[in-house]
Symmetry: C2
Subunit: 744 residues, 2 copies
Amino acid sequence: MTKNITTLQILICCIFLCLNTMAQEHPSLILTKKGVQKIRAELGNVPLFDATLQQLKEEIDAEINLGIDTPVPKDYSGGYTHERHKRNMVVMQQAGVLYQILEDEKYAEYVKDMLMQYEAMYKTLPLHPKTRSYARGKLFWQCLNDSNWLVYVSQAYDCIYDYLDKAERKKLEKNLFRPFADHISVDSPQFYQRVHNHSTWGNAAVGMIGLVMNDQELIDRALYGIKGVNLDKTAKDDDGGFLNKDGKAGFLANIEEPFSPDGYYNEGPYYQRYAMYPFLIFAEGLHNVKPELKIFEYKDGVLLKSIDALLNLSDADGDFFPLNDGQKGMSFYNNALVTAVDISYYFGNQDPGLLSIAAKQNKVLLDDSGLAVALGVKNGKALPFEKKSINLSDGPNGKQGGVGILRSEGLELVFKYASQGSSHGHYDKLSYSFYENGDEVLQDYGLARFVNIEQKGGGNYLKENKTWAKQTIAHNTVVLNEQSHYQGKYDIGSKYHPSLYVFDSAKENIQIVSAKETNAYPGTEMHRTMAIIKQDGFEKPFMLDILKISSDSTNQYDLPFYFMGQVVSTNIDYEAPKTLEALGNGYGYQHLWLEGSGTTEDENTKFSWLENGRFYTLTSATNNNDEFKFVRIGANDPEFNLRREAGLILRRKDTQNTLFVSTVESHGSYSPVSELALNSNSNIKELKVIFDSAAYTAIEIKDVKDGTSIFILANTNASKDANHKLKINDKDYEWSGSYYFNKQ
Amino acid sequence: MTKNITTLQILICCIFLCLNTMAQEHPSLILTKKGVQKIRAELGNVPLFDATLQQLKEEIDAEINLGIDTPVPKDYSGGYTHERHKRNMVVMQQAGVLYQILEDEKYAEYVKDMLMQYEAMYKTLPLHPKTRSYARGKLFWQCLNDSNWLVYVSQAYDCIYDYLDKAERKKLEKNLFRPFADHISVDSPQFYQRVHNHSTWGNAAVGMIGLVMNDQELIDRALYGIKGVNLDKTAKDDDGGFLNKDGKAGFLANIEEPFSPDGYYNEGPYYQRYAMYPFLIFAEGLHNVKPELKIFEYKDGVLLKSIDALLNLSDADGDFFPLNDGQKGMSFYNNALVTAVDISYYFGNQDPGLLSIAAKQNKVLLDDSGLAVALGVKNGKALPFEKKSINLSDGPNGKQGGVGILRSEGLELVFKYASQGSSHGHYDKLSYSFYENGDEVLQDYGLARFVNIEQKGGGNYLKENKTWAKQTIAHNTVVLNEQSHYQGKYDIGSKYHPSLYVFDSAKENIQIVSAKETNAYPGTEMHRTMAIIKQDGFEKPFMLDILKISSDSTNQYDLPFYFMGQVVSTNIDYEAPKTLEALGNGYGYQHLWLEGSGTTEDENTKFSWLENGRFYTLTSATNNNDEFKFVRIGANDPEFNLRREAGLILRRKDTQNTLFVSTVESHGSYSPVSELALNSNSNIKELKVIFDSAAYTAIEIKDVKDGTSIFILANTNASKDANHKLKINDKDYEWSGSYYFNKQ
């Protein structure tokens, strides 16, 4: 064994020596010499590429005319010096690309001049004067932004490498790039030496400049972390996340850890989109310069899989579902997704569905991958990108819960049973959001932040993000005793996750996802099953929601429905108070105004609302003791940081084991132009629990024409092969698999 | 003289005799024999016409397959019998058109069969069982809907007139049409004998069936009202409007009274759109059958002018400004506007701008006018419909105030100084709303009603329409002592109106509208001047608002700003209460939650918000005693009938004469996709009143780069020719005309 290893080691050394002694071509990182030749040959014949190039040229020419400014760093995000350096990094990268493609030296000269200004400033530059960050940068207030800069500027340097003479290169590498890379890595291990999206940027920055400089030490530091550095495993960052609990670090660990085998990124799509760029651009660089690493095959090709997962985590308009801390409106139109789509197409299987997204983005990367995409679109190869129902496991090995998305006829149910999601996670186990045609029907609030709007807390997380957005009551899931899941504590939340019970999207008439959570409240098991059912006599599919709770204690259960739109009708007999008070004192309850309280005598509680010209009806199998609270977000929010949106909370007090069963129908339409209200009433006459035991739960759904269907869930055995037999009201039901569904 | 008149009378009699004795062709009402021939000849060659026809054919074929149902009347709007009869009237009219164009007898037969079913039912039909209306119909709960029915069915009858034999026609006319026309007129004078949009429908219904039946008595009744009937002049209708204060009636009076010479309809665009169809379709019928009446030239061609006015009363998306009782979202996509646009094009001057609207509507009338429009579009004649700044006088003679719209670079300021606007008017003298690119920046609430949504008060006006939407505080205008203009009383409001002081939209750098109101609060004059100013150094034009109040008493003044969007920043030092209470007890104040109260020490109050990716800043020249109230609509609204939208109220207490001066800027942008916040700060450094007397008010506006402009208004002499001279801070200003504006 020893001998074998030694031989292998020698071999590896030889390969590296060979590679190092070979004169490295430039550009080689993102653009390649061969690729650039091909691009030049195609210029003028590829509309999408040409248009992107033309737009870029105009933009950069305008910037060049403005002159170069590299101000002494001073501001937080939103301030001038911050925004200027941020703009400079992009402009340099783009000017570099223009130099390569258009062979016009004015672009190279511009990049060179700006780099020299940075070199002159950087060699004596102290830490950034703003002190809020746990890892201060030099150009920016945090190392994260310094890393962004280097990721872009590495590409610019690669593009003008051959334009510079040796002395110029040496000057830049010695006074700017190498110390810059060191500052964000060896000098800032609390930032760099982690598994975190920040660190991914750091790794990519160090690795990319390493690739251009052909500096193996930097490349290794990028791939595997700083040699010999181990952080305090209990230390935390600004967001309350552990700095480095497991001691893992480096780019490969950053691929390994946050991505599940299905390509789900543990912080959710909003942060995946942010993290995506360094993952993919560094991977592209590695692929070009170090093809032997086969980076796109790493962990079963997870990088490319993750792009597919990310696209599937968007609604019909391409907006990402705002799981965890996600800003609404972020979408596949973001530039990071242009990178992702083009790279996925070129380095993946040339999926024609990606071309239709690229066409919508109306922009491509100005490199080999972008050219391939633009050619594909030009040649009419694009097909619609069809988002289907999908289950995405969470966790490095896919064993830490996940996200299940059920899609049917424009309806999208996003069921979250994922793990904590790092420091950006919310305490919302078994929560869901519900969409129709890209509009929110039952919303997930998202984050409480106005990203980059300086007037709102410097554009950073607002305190309401913690006091409201992360709390359980801010989500469509159950809250016990007005306390968040895991007590709202990150340490506890990070230890646990729900587990999948069933996911089945194969059938035409019913799609189902079901998961269990036993640690959010010790001693209590929550088992939630959600289905989208297509049934004759209904205009559209409807959602069925069964939440079964078994507890060793007596509790108060709150189940909110954050409906979007205006109240149309209800059979809840409620009182609206003359003055509004907050619903509670903590865990987010302090942010809810109580707008109405009531009960219902009927066996089914009905609640209808109208949004975007469609009617929706919630039908709940409830009892006389159930209370309903009409709430509105915005109490204890003196800065008006929260949106004044509504919710309806079903409250059940003094209860041990219990069952919440509801349906949500989308029906009919209303147009303010025609003023026609069509099919504005629910089609469900009765929703009834006809059987409930530890082993089985059975629901009967009767429509207004007395069409009846039965859904039965085997609560404890999800095996596909298990055979079940159950008598309900003298009728025998027999089936195999975890559930039964049939129209009677 | 006597002899002359007699001769003229004889001549008229002769003409009528001649016309009456000529065998009348059919169709002749909307379709004409000659027109139909032309249509048939062009079929298949006019895309817009062909597409409309094809769609209609599919729709009507589907209806025919469903069979005929003429249920015994039973329901209010939204209920089955109501909706069925409403659908039947449209289907018959359309089937008639299809019969004429396609010459397929199945359509004629369908209309005939349905008419015969109606005939069989109608002859013994009692009043509709629902009793809510002041004028009950037979097929419907109100005569208004019966009239709608007859307007459509007259057209159907005209189309199949020649298909029926004489006996069939006699049967229908005797048992159905004539008694139907009598019921909505002579039997329901409180409905018919008025100047009101309801009556217009009644007049058109009676007149159109009269034209088809060639029944001069009905035609006269339509044009001039019921002979010899005079209503109680003090009686009121369901909405609180006078039934018939002036004793005027008939179609011509209904043109005369509500339309100003500029074509403004006194109830506002929402009701104009509703009233439009009977005005135009009956006019088209009169034009075809009684060309000698020259109906389109009546009152200086006001019917066609009114279409232009109506189109100008829509925002950039084509949505009508919700003046008075207007439901938001109603737009030029409504079918009534297809009629209006096509008729205006054909019977007017073939304005190519109308063709671009027709192209957006993607639909034309299936008659001569629609064919002309479709041909125009086909032949590439369409040009953009350019909405410009416009002043529309109100009142039969244009002497009762008006509406001024200032437009500049996507911004639209709608300044309302109109008269009460009949029973659908709001108490909002000198109020305004402000739009950008079709989005509301500072909103007018519109009505409190969900039209035709049965669950919300039967689809009718909700009580909050009266307690909130009509009240002054619901609008962007000043409220004295928490009491609405004219005490919120219709009788008082109907007596008065503001008067125009200046309207000038001719200059490039400033457009201005100014009006005075002296009766809203006796003893108090309110003079409001609003301008849109384009100035170097500003990204976009901004709005200037000067409200000067002279009063013989000491008052509390409330000036609300109903901003749309999320609070970004303010220099108001305010407290947000722990519990929310209503701001007041009546006049709409009971519907406002008080979300925050404060003052500012600065000379200018600043308030910024964000909506639709744009920043807005209100700058107000205020003083230390001014109070600010953050409010939210929705208090005392147990049914959730009101939208929970925000406002900021500037309150000035214990004051006699006073001046409110504000600017509103639109600036910058924010995209949740790029997460870039551009130009998010106000460009105004200082807004200052530098002079104020009874005669003059002067304002200085200084931008952040100290660029300064001066606006001076002559408060009492609006003559264009008057010369003014004024010394302010040792500087002499000289100008002619009502105002001075210059950059210093």
